[in-house]
Symmetry: C2
Subunit: 330 residues, 2 copies
């Protein structure tokens, strides 16, 4: 029995963003085809100032793969005291036909990649076909990933960006312009960025509304990334009134996504949520229907996105003879 | 950042049963000292005839170690179709100070070892000091592990064994007599074995009572191993009436251990459960108090037993320069 070991460097070279987008579509479709098991995650909270480690598992009958992802985060003293990042990740990939451990891969890059791809998948399903201006609130790693993915599925004419820290905003502008040749306007306030948007991405660690309802112009597609647990919030809940609301997982989004806020405030009812994105990808429900409607995609992240992306990385590694093989038993 | 890889063969040579017993005591004590986090496990059920894979995680503040154990089982076609056992296991061990992945080890042996050790720990705390005859119902791998562990903590004068299959019973007798030089009586019925016991071990896959209340003589210590989920049962619930009942985890045993049956039948109340074994090991509650009382240890198995045992294996490997180091990232 042989297990493939893939380092962070291996993983980096083994999957393109276009491939990640394909695997995330595959994940959403499998989820809404009843082919997925994703039990509630296990979380361990370390004593302060340390953060936490979470374990997420998923079984996908479509690819007969089981994955377990361990993700740590919030260890601020790691770089100085232990010489490692403040968060790390590991993925175990099992062949579901036998439960053989097929692969152990570094998981540091996986969450960022598959979360970035989720926004791009929603753009294909929900944004106006003539959308060209992207606004991004937040300029961290996930904001970069969103841009990197969305440019695979549309031509971005210009980007309007905003974050609270001017130095980070300037660095983001420089990086994106150099990497992709897309002009970036460093907005002087969140409102200016939002008002320019055909597509609005929020990828902050916000714990209260950053975007107000009156700022968003008709026809905007919103990608709400930041809110994936209780206590987080990026939007004034009023934005959801009358919008076409699409979620990755209904059960997750109504309990801990951005969608929880307008539900809790009584601004929308659960029946007013249009559906899960997999239903649109499968053709079971329509995507955008009018140019002037506001569409919202609430992405909380699912284990099954890790599953399909990790499986693609593994398949590419096998095809390209990458990685290191190890026998845990004879 | 370096991660230690340990094969099944490595693990086998890296820990003695006496050490496993020590780590299980350590686990029980940490659990009852408020130093342990063990979230509810995640389970994935594969389509028939395949079985399942479970993920159990534990954080032990006493050794600053986090473990995740993946355990599969119930894949009857694995040997013929895939050339691997019907169940396998993998353990990830993280340094809880940073969440660095310190070790990936084969986990095939771990559950058997730490479950075997649990019975021996209970013997020290609950069996009569003059106990010398052990009865064992069930003659599989776990029955062997129980004997192997108990002989580390007492002198076994003789063993009375019983199982449904005469060939397996004969093989068990031969193996145990040769391995340990302890005379084994192959009992003609379960009752005969039980009636001879100072210490009674049940390690079957029973789904209904195998042992009746009237068979158990006063002063017997019972080690109930087999029942760790709903649908399993080894004892007539009446046995629990008036016995000193000790559990590994109260929440687990009252919901899915052997203890659930007498509770469900109204034979005992939760208040009549004496306590968790860690409370006895810590001296917070007495163990056995009278030679003629029946003591029952209900063992459902805890993630924290994997934690302390895996950490010992890892420490021994580092001390002995065993295993293979691998860098998942630079």
């Amino acid at each position: 029995m042989k297990t493939l070991l893939l380092t962070k460097e291996d993983v980096k070279g083994l999957i393109s963003m276009a491939e990640v987008i394909g695997t995330v579509e595959e994940a959403y479709k499998a989820f809404n085809s009843g082919l997925v098991q994703q039990p509630g995650y296990m979380g361990l909270h370390l004593p302060a100032p340390r953060g936490e480690i979470d374990f997420k598992a998923g079984y996908n009958q479509a690819n007969e793969t089981i994955t377990l992802k361990a993700s740590s985060g919030g260890f601020p003293h790691n770089p100085a005291e232990h010489g490692v990042p403040s968060g790390m990740g590991t993925v175990l990939l099992f062949d579901a036909r036998s439960c053989v451990l097929a692969c152990v891969m570094d998981g540091s890059l996986l969450t960022g990649l598959r979360t970035g791809a989720s926004g791009a998948v929603s753009v294909k399903a929900l944004a106006r076909k003539d959308a060209r201006t992207v606004a991004v609130i937040g300029t961290g790693n996930q904001a970069r990933m969103q841009i990197r993915a969305i440019r695979e599925v549309m031509t971005i004419g210009e980007i309007h960006a905003w974050c609270r820290t001017p130095e980070k905003l300037a660095a983001f502008k420089d990086e994106i312009e150099q990497a992709f040749g897309i002009p970036v306007t460093a907005a002087s306030c969140a409102r200016d960025a939002v008002a320019a948007a055909d597509i609005l991405i929020t990828a902050t660690r916000g714990t209260g509304p950053v975007v107000e309802a009156g700022w968003v112009k008709p026809g905007t597609h919103i990608i709400a990334i930041g809110t994936d647990q209780h206590g987080k919030q990026e939007f004034e809940p009023e934005i959801f009134r009358g919008a076409r609301i699409v979620v990755d997982s209904l059960s997750q989004c109504i309990s801990k996504g951005e969608t929880w806020h307008p539900l809790n405030a009584g601004i929308i009812t659960q029946e007013q949520i249009h559906g899960e994105i997999g239903e649109i990808l499968l053709g079971h429900k329509p995507g955008r229907e009018r140019d002037d409607e506001i569409t919202i995609f609430d992405s909380t992240g699912m284990a099954i996105q890790d599953n399909t992306a990790a499986r693609k990385i593994y398949d590419n590694a096998v095809a390209r003879n990458a990685g290191t093989w190890f026998s845990f038993f004879q």
